[in-house]
């Protein structure tokens, strides 16, 4: 639906079974795999995708830190990881490494070994706390 009818191809399809997280979006603020949501269920609901994460030309701090910390390689999992990480930081602005790892356990990444992703999320959290 998002990809084929609205042409929002930022959310990726890696499995169509909720196992890879590449299609992560939020529906009314709740993180979900869009492959496991029917369009009809979302009537009247607010959906946030990767396309809406940056504020115009200004990247979200997570996006900026991911670039600076090289927290992406091929980039296919990146939109889903960013949407999921943003959802985490909105709930918990000071997560531990373990909390970040478990929150992102449903976002498969085959390139990075997760190391730089986890560091980038924790660094962003620290910066956002510092700036608040």
């Amino acid at each position: 639906m998002l990809r084929d009818e609205l042409n929002l191809t930022g959310s990726k399809e890696g499995c169509a079974s909720g196992d890879c997280g590449a299609c992560s979006v939020t529906v009314d603020g709740r993180l979900v795999c869009s492959c496991l949501v029917l369009g009809a269920e979302c009537e009247g609901k607010s959906i946030e995708t990767i396309e809406g994460m940056a504020d115009g030309e200004k990247l979200h701090p997570l996006q900026q830190t991911f670039l600076e910390e090289a927290a992406l390689q091929c980039g296919i999992c990146t939109p889903g990881v960013l949407v999921a990480a943003k959802s985490l930081l909105e709930r918990n602005n000071n997560p531990t490494e373990t909390e970040v790892r478990y929150w992102l356990a449903g976002n498969l990444c085959r390139c990075t070994g997760y190391d730089k992703i986890i560091r980038a999320v924790m660094k962003t959290a620290a910066e956002m706390r510092g700036g608040a």
Binding site: G18, L31, V32, L38, A40, A105, G106
Partner: protein, 290 residues
């Protein structure tokens, strides 16, 4: 593939009427984390999908005055985890519920869906069974309430009649001295289906003696099991090594697993005993710290 009719009724009666009147195969949609996977993989080909999430009763969560809970069938695990009351009273129930899949799945997966998908490995069910939960069912003949363990009758099969669906659940008040726990064994740390799951709920008296207990095993039989001998093994004990050994043996004896891509008969049998011991210990620790 036929075209699918999608309905999102606002009342229980409308939902029952739709389900009862369906010509082909009708499916209830709660969190959708099993249904949509099956739909996309062409494992099912329903003519009607009834989304029950617009019905208030399926989405409600209430702690009653007597300390018991009434929980909507489509209430999600992640929502429960964010509550202070149930996570304190029944941590084991919440653990099983909120262990299902990833964060993304936990935001959608419901107790009703996890139960009615009728997988023997369903994570939420052993803890629900151990806690003594019951399900409120609506159908063409009215309402009925049955124990959670009576819903699934085999892999993918339930005792629900045509037109029936689970609207909500009743969770008893936590007894004084009560504690519960759910543990599962998975190869990774997240995202897997339980190779074995075990729920334990027990009550300790002031001396630390177990006065009542219920032990439930998942993924070791066609349905989630209630292991009465396991409860017997620890009732009247202080969970000393001998009682734990008996508990372990009772669970191993009750386990009748199969070998498949997730585990072998030998492995599942042994792990049933290991998890029961570990879950009983956690439940007792929780009972003591209440």
């Amino acid at each position: 593939m036929q075209s699918v009719q999608f309905e999102a009724p606002k009342t229980v009666d409308e939902a029952v009427a739709l389900l009862a009147g369906a010509k082909g195969n009708a499916r209830v949609l709660a969190g959708g984390t099993d249904l949509l996977v099956q739909l996309r993989a062409h494992m099912i080909d329903p003519s009607l999908i009834v989304d029950i999430k617009k019905i208030d009763e399926t989405r409600s969560f209430k702690k009653n005055r007597d300390g018991s809970y009434t929980i909507g069938a489509a209430y999600a695990g992640a929502e429960a985890t964010e509550r202070d009351d149930i996570t304190k009273d029944w941590p084991g129930v919440v653990e099983g519920w909120d262990l299902i899949g990833s964060t993304q799945i936990q935001g959608r997966a419901s107790l009703g869906g996890n139960l009615c998908n009728a997988s023997p490995a369903a994570d939420s069910v052993p803890a629900m069974v151990a806690a003594g939960m019951t399900a409120n069912i609506a159908g063409p003949k009215g309402r009925r309430t049955i124990p959670v363990e009576d819903i699934a009758v085999g892999p993918g099969k339930t005792s629900l009649a045509k037109g029936e669906f689970v609207v909500s659940f009743n969770l008893p008040a936590r007894p004084k001295g009560g504690g519960d726990a759910y543990l599962r064994l998975i190869p990774r740390t997240e995202m897997d289906i339980a190779v074995v799951g075990c729920g334990v709920a027990l009550v300790l008296d002031a001396n630390g003696t177990v006065t009542s207990a219920k032990v439930s095993l998942g993924a070791v039989a066609p349905t989630v099991l209630v292991v009465k001998d396991a409860a017997k093994a620890i009732i009247g004990t202080k969970l000393d090594d001998a009682a734990m050994a008996k508990l372990d043996a009772a669970c191993q004896a009750a386990a009748k697993p199969i070998s498949d891509k997730r585990g072998t008969v030998e492995y599942r049998t042994k792990i049933a005993g290991v998890l029961a011991r570990r879950a009983a210990k956690i439940a007792a620790d929780r009972a003591r710290s209440q």
